[in-house]
Amino acid sequence: MSEPVPLLKVRDLRVHFATEGSLVRAVDGVDLELRAGETLALVGESGCGKSTLARALVGLNPVTSGTAELNGRTITGLTRAAARPFRRELQLVFQDPYASLNPRFTIAQTLAEPLLLHEKASRSNVDSKVCELLAQVGLDPELRARYPHEFSGGQRQRISIARALAVEPSLLLCDEVTSALDVSIQAQILDLLRSVQQRLGLSYLFITHDLGVVRYIAHRVAVMYVGQIVELRDTESLFESPAHPYTQALLASIPRVSRAEGAPGRVPLGGEVPSPARPPSGCRFHPRCSLAFDRCPKEQPELYPVSGGSSRCFLNH
C-alpha cells in the first residue's frame, strides 16, 4: 500500500478547558490522518470531544498542545492573519441550517459574501457563480432571491453546503449535518454529499452519532471516548468485527429494523460516560467494560494495530 501525503495530519492534539476548579480534557491526545477524497467519520457519544476536535481544527477552539497540518503546513497555533489562507481550505457545516444562515440575507447574498470575500468571483460574475452553486446542490437557481425561512430544513442544509463549497475548500467538516432532518430528506443530503465528493474530490471529516449513516458514507471510522480515539478502522472492518469493547457495546446498542420481534438481543451497556474533567485511570473505558482485568485500571493502553486499523485495548495487543 503506497502512502500518499495525507491532506490532514493531526498529531497528539489536546484541547483542555479550565473551568471552576477543574481541567476539562475535552480532546486529549488525538492522532489521525485524512487522505484527499476520503471520508473519515468521527463517532462517539455526547461529550466525547468529537465536535471540539473539529472546532479546534478551524480555529474556533484554542488548541492546548499538539499540531494539525494541512498539506504539510501547520494550521494550529497561528495568529488570525496567518490562519486566514487556511480558513478557506477547511469549511464547517453545522447541524442546524436555520441557525447558521443569516435570516436577513437572501440566498444570493448569503452565497455571494464568501465568493467576494475570498475573491472566487467578482461583482460582474457573482450572480452566475451563485446560480452555478445552487445547481450544484440541486436547488433551482430561480429561488436565489428568497430568504432562509422560505425553505424547508433539507433545502436549507443544501444552501449551507453550497455556501461551504463556494470558497472551493479541500476539506469539509460536517458536524451532525443530517441529524435534524427526517430520514427521507437525510437520504437526499447523504446522496448529495457523495456526488459532490466524487465530482470535486473533497475530503470529509464527518461527525455523527448515527452509525447507520457512518456505514453508508464513511471510508474509515474513528471512535472517540472521553477525549481519545479508542478505535480507528476501515468502515467495513469496524462494523464486521469491532475490536474495542466500547465499539462493540456501541454497535450492540443500536436498535435494528432487522431484529426479530420481542427478541432482547443485547445487554445494554451499564453506567454513563465519565466526565472529561475526571477521566478514569488507566483505560478510560474500564469502569464500564465487561472484559476489564487487573491491568486496565492501572495502565493506559496505546492504539495497537488490528486488521484494517488500530484499537486502544490490551486485548488487541
Binding site: S46, V183, S184, Y216, A252, V257, G270
Partner: protein, 342 residues
C-alpha cells in the same frame, strides 16, 4: 368519510383500553386553516405497545396531545371521539380531564429537562404529584418515591436531593418516567423519549420501558420517527403521513414486508447499520405536502410515490383491511408490493 373497519369481533379481542374514532385536529390563524390530523381511528388494548411513526409534521404528536386534551385553545379544534374505557375525552370538562391525566394516562416527552421544574429538587417534584393525585404525604410519600425510583433503576436516596441540572440526560428521563408511573397509569404516552439520548443510554431506557411494560401490564403509545426503535419495543405500528394513517400492522409483518409505498420508502431511505455499505439508499424525492383544510382529491403520497399510477390521482384511497389486523391506504395490489421493487 369513515373508512375504518372496527376490529372488535367480541370473542377474539379483549376490550380496548383506548378507542379513537375519526379524530381530526385543525389549527387556524388569520390566514389559513390546517388540518394536522385527518380522520384518524385506532385502538390500544390493555398492556399493548403501539408505535406511532412518521416524519415531522405527519400528525403523530398532535394525535397524542389530543388524548390528554393538551392542545392550546382556541387554536386547536378537535373533533371525533377518544374513549378511554367508558369515558369520552373529546369535549370533556377540565375537571374530567384532570382526573384522567396522571392517574390513568401519563406522558413523557423528548426533552426531560424542559419537562422538569429547574427550581425544584427531584423529591419536591415527585412529592407534588403524590400529594395532588394520591393525597400521600410524609413517610408514606417518601417510601413510594424510593420504591418508584428503584423501579426505574435509580437506587438510593441521594438522587432525591438533586436538582434537574445536576443529573445526566438519561437520569433525567428516568426521573420523568418515575413521575409518570407514580399513579400507576394504564396508558403511558411516550413522545420521542429517547431521541435526545445517546445510543447506549437509549438502549437502557428502551430496556427499562420493556421491563415496566412486562411487570405492570401497562399500555404504551410510543411516538417515534425511528423504525429501529419500533422494532425493539412495539407490538403494533401505525404509520402516518400528512395527518393520515397510511398503514397499520403487527411490527414484524410491517418491517418484513411493508404494504404501503410510503412505509416501504421510509425503510429504504434509512441507512442500515447491519448491512455492508449501509445498504442501498433510496431517498424519497420531493417534500411532504403542505397541509390545508381542503379535501384531498388524490392520494397524499402520490406526488412522491415511486409506484404511482393512473388511479392514485383520482381520489384519496380509503384505509381498508388487508387481511388480519393489517390496514392500508393504497390501491397498488399487495402482490405487487411483495414481488417487485421499483
Amino acid at each position: 368519510m369513515s373508512d375504518h373497519q372496527p376490529t372488535d369481533t367480541p370473542s377474539a379481542t379483549p376490550a380496548e383500553l383506548l378507542r379513537i374514532r375519526d379524530l381530526s385536529v385543525t389549527f387556524s390563524n388569520r390566514e389559513r386553516t390546517v388540518r394536522a390530523v385527518d380522520q384518524v381511528s385506532f385502538d390500544i388494548r390493555p398492556g399493548e405497545v403501539v408505535g406511532l411513526v412518521g416524519e415531522s409534521g405527519c400528525g403523530k404528536s398532535v394525535t397524542s396531545l389530543s388524548i390528554l386534551g393538551l392542545h392550546e385553545r382556541p387554536a386547536g379544534r378537535v373533533t371525533g371521539s377518544i374513549r378511554l374505557g367508558e369515558h369520552e375525552l373529546v369535549g370533556a370538562s377540565p375537571a374530567a380531564l384532570r382526573a384522567v391525566r396522571g392517574n390513568r394516562v401519563s406522558m413523557i416527552f423528548q426533552d426531560p429537562l424542559t419537562s422538569l421544574n429547574p427550581y425544584l429538587r427531584v423529591e419536591e417534584q415527585l412529592a407534588e404529584v403524590l400529594e395532588l393525585h394520591l393525597g400521600l404525604r410524609g413517610p408514606a410519600a417518601r417510601a413510594r418515591m424510593l420504591e418508584i425510583l428503584s423501579q426505574v433503576g435509580i437506587p438510593g436516596e441521594e438522587r432525591l436531593r438533586a436538582y434537574p441540572h445536576q443529573l445526566s440526560g438519561g437520569m433525567r428521563q428516568r426521573i420523568c418516567i418515575a413521575m409518570a408511573l407514580l399513579c400507576n397509569p394504564e396508558l403511558l404516552i411516550a413522545d420521542e423519549p429517547t431521541t435526545m439520548l445517546d445510543v447506549t443510554i437509549q438502549a437502557q431506557i428502551l430496556e427499562l420501558l420493556r421491563s415496566l411494560r412486562n411487570s405492570r401490564k401497562m399500555a404504551i403509545l410510543f411516538i417515534t420517527h425511528d423504525l429501529g426503535v419500533v422494532s425493539e419495543l412495539c407490538d403494533r405500528v401505525i404509520v402516518m403521513y400528512a395527518g393520515r394513517i397510511v398503514e397499520q400492522a403487527r411490527t414484524a409483518d410491517l418491517l418484513q414486508a411493508p404494504w404501503h409505498p410510503y412505509t416501504e420508502a421510509l425503510l429504504r431511505s434509512t441507512p442500515r447499520v447491519d448491512l455492508p455499505g449501509g445498504g442501498t439508499l433510496h431517498p424519497i424525492g420531493g417534500l411532504p405536502p403542505r397541509l390545508s383544510a381542503a379535501e384531498l382529491r388524490e392520494c397524499a403520497f402520490s406526488p412522491r410515490c415511486p409506484r404511482v399510477r393512473e388511479g392514485c390521482r383520482s381520489g384519496e384511497p380509503a384505509l381498508v383491511s388487508a387481511g388480519g389486523e393489517r390496514l392500508r391506504r393504497c390501491i397498488v395490489p399487495v402482490a405487487e408490493m411483495i414481488e417487485a421493487r421499483p
